[in-house]
Amino acid sequence: MRHIISILMENESGALSRVAGLFSARGYNIESLTVAPTEDPSLSRMTLVTRGNDDIIEQITKQLNKLIDVVKLIDLADSFHIERELLMVKVKTSPEMRDEIRSMADIFRGKIIDVTPTTYIIEMTGPSEKLDAFIAAIDPESIIEAVRSGPTGISRGELGLHL
């Protein structure tokens, strides 16, 4: 099953490699990983998407908690949460296709953020499945490049991951 693990960790050099190294050393898979500093500059927030049965996910969270640099973590899949991913996709636009691509972007609530005579860059956020659906909906031949951030997430309600 797919799990999103959100980790609050010390914003120190090497902290990221400790997490990445743990996954490769113990044979766990990482589907995606995003990391950035938080409002507290001494902390980084990492969002990691992984797959595994309950035993594996239990071990992953325990092993992550064992890392000295990890302050706290939660498995977002355990509770109601919201997840979003950013997509930027650069598409070729022949004159006759420009309108169709623009309206497709509208339908998916994407924004065109860069225009050249022959290309658009479309920005879109949403759950990963929505981004998958958009990419499936446009002509694969027209895609020059697609960049995805990997999902990040936050739990709903008053509960949260903080010090």
Binding site: E10, S17, I68
Partner: protein, 578 residues
């Protein structure tokens, strides 16, 4: 007080109470060695290879319970220390390893003797630090000792660039009394509700067994374990790492379990209905094939490391906590519990166990004209009155030492259980002897293992650490040969050496006493003579039966109930070997 970085390192170690530092100098640590030279409190032990430094510090730590401290230079000095660091990591031994690093401005430039020590050690340390600011040095050292010695202990590396220890940069020094790390709070006391549930289950067991490991040694909980076991009257088995935490000569002790455990211990595990695992981690050498492991048992597991619980074996009642307070709490509950142990069921269980014991699975041929390695260990036990510190290398001799030296006290058995590091025995014996100069220290080894760190014989002379080396010389890498005999139709691929040094001369060349024996009747008097030489390291080259195997054995893929026993006592010497 203003000190430079090198002085801060030395003073911090002194303030931490460090007695010995095991190391080897080199370019990146020259400032540190200069600071060591200018004081007398911290004693430096110069080894002959950095692997020896880590093992010696490790032996010191295992015997004393205090952290071992190591100092190595950058690059090859650091990489040579890796095997020893990993050895300590797998057995949860507290070490603080200080490695020199190239100066900050040249880090990352492939400078002379540069390796990314923090990167290389990451998978085999509990934590590591790269110090980038001399004002953080003392605090980092305090943190390293704190992390290494608390919770589940382990090695911590501090990588110190050369410019951080520069003599001309002085900063105010004070060593912190304590330190806290917001992301590190090891659990100590167990969950009360879980402990209650565990006691209830334990008291209603019909065929219980206590399975305890190295965590009892590390957690200084031997006394509590003994009291707990006696209060219950249940059988107890120890892992390789737990030997000595429960007295091996006690009636309730059924021997070591696992791959080379006793028949009775493994059968009792297999048939039990309730197992309490105390500071043990269900290692694959203990469990055998997981699908066949303890099919009838409900398992209680006490461990300080939550990640050890349900890692390989799902348990019914996990208790995360330090074994000592948890055992104390359980004992209190046992005393007041309304549940009475089913005395009839327990009597039947002991009857069954004594039937298993009656096959005498550790018996061996005592009439052989050749020296049986088991006999040597039995004699070692008698000559040292069961009170020696015994270090070992890895292989058959290690298993025989574990099976036949009846350890009655914790911290007496010093071996590399998790990583299985050949070369561990001699340097670790030096570390033990430094800690306990008056004690008998024996290194049980083989002619293959001893050659992996033989150079430390020189260290043993320099620091006058008179140890007794029992080299069980069967002219084979015995354990490899045994596996090849059982699983590869006796194709003994590279498990022997065409040339083996004359160990007597080698010992003498290093300034020690060398003895060689090849008859059973020589064993006892030679051991007595060796241990009588209180101030000399004695290397006894013992020519043993080449064909001897370690029994019992659970072969790969088998369960506890499926053991290979000695086929017919007295036949092993007749076999022809390639």
């Amino acid at each position: 007080m203003e000190l430079n970085g090198a002085q801060i390192v030395v003073q911090s170690l002194i303030d931490e109470g460090v007695e010995y530092i095991f190391g080897y100098p080199g370019g990146a640590v020259l400032h540190l060695y200069d600071a060591i030279f200018q004081q007398e409190e911290l004693k430096h032990i110069l080894v002959r290879h950095e692997q020896g430094a880590t093992h010696a510090a490790d032996g010191y730590a295992r015997a004393t319970g205090k952290p071992g401290v190591v100092l190595v230079t950058s690059g090859p000095g650091a990489t040579n220390a890796i095997t020893g660091i990993a050895t300590a990591y797998l057995d949860s031994i507290p070490l603080v390893v200080i490695s020199g690093q190239v100066s900050l401005p040249v880090i990352g430039s492939d400078a002379f003797q540069e390796v990314d020590m923090v990167g290389i050690t990451r998978p085999c340390v509990k934590h590591n630090f790269l110090v980038k600011d001399v004002t953080k040095l003392a605090e980092t050292i305090k943190k390293a000792f704190y992390v290494a010695t608390t919770g589940r202990p382990g090695p911590v590396v501090i990588d110190i660039p050369k410019d951080i220890t520069a003599p001309n940069i002085k900063v105010p020094y004070s060593y912190p009394d304590s330190v806290s790390i917001r992301s590190y709070n090891p659990v100590v006391t167990g969950h009360k509700g879980q402990i209650k549930k565990a006691v209830d289950l334990l008291l209603s067991a019909k065929r219980p067994i206590i399975y305890s490991g190295g965590g009892v040694v590390l957690g200084e909980a031997s006394e509590q374990l003994i009291e707990f076991t006696r209060a219950l009257g249940y059988p107890i088995t120890n892992t390789l790492m737990g030997l000595g935490s429960y007295p091996a000569t006690d009636n309730q002790y059924v021997g070591m379990l696992g791959m080379h455990g006793t028949y009775e211990a493994n059968m009792a595990m297999h048939e039990s209905d309730v197992i309490i695992a105390i500071g043990a981690r269900f290692d694959d050498r203990v469990t055998g094939k997981l699908d066949l492991f303890c099919p009838h048992a409900k398992i209680i597991h006490i461990d300080i490391d939550p990640a050890s619980i349900s890692k390989t074996v799902r348990v019914a009642i996990p208790i995360v906590g330090d074994v000592k307070p948890v055992l104390e709490q359980m004992l209190e509950l046992i005393k007041v519990s309304s549940i009475k142990i089913d005395a009839n069921a327990l009597a039947d269980w002991w009857k069954q166990i004594s039937e298993w014991q009656s096959i005498n699975c550790l018996e061996f041929d005592r009439s052989s004209p050749l020296i049986k390695p088991q006999y040597v260990i039995e004699q070692l036990h008698e000559v040292t009155k069961g009170d020696a510190y015994v270090t070992s290398d890895v292989g058959q001799h290690q298993m025989w030492a574990a099976q036949y030296y009846k350890f009655n006290k914790p911290r007496r058995w010093i071996n590399s259980g998790g990583l299985g590091t050949m070369g561990f025995g001699l340097p670790s014996a030096i570390g033990v002897k430094l800690a306990f100069p008056e004690a008998d220290v024996a290194c049980v080894t083989g002619e293959a293992s001893i050659q992996m760190c033989i150079q430390e014989l020189s260290t043993a002379l320099q620091y006058k650490t008179p140890i007794k080396i029992l080299n069980l010389n069967n002219r084979y890498m015995g354990m490899v040969r045994q596996w090849q005999e059982f699983s590869y139709e006796s194709r003994y691929s590279h498990s022997y050496m065409d040339t083996i040094p004359e160990f007597v001369k080698l010992a003498e060349a290093y300034g020690h006493v060398g003895l060689r024996i090849d008859k059973p009747e020589e064993v006892r008097p030679t051991l007595e003579a060796a241990f009588a030489m209180k101030d000399r390291t004695v290397f006894i080259d013992i020519m043993t039966d080449r064909t001897e195997n370690v029994y019992p054995m659970i072969e790969a893929g088998k369960g506890h109930h499926d053991m290979k026993l000695r086929v017919a006592i007295g036949t092993s010497t007749d076999r022809e070997l390639a």
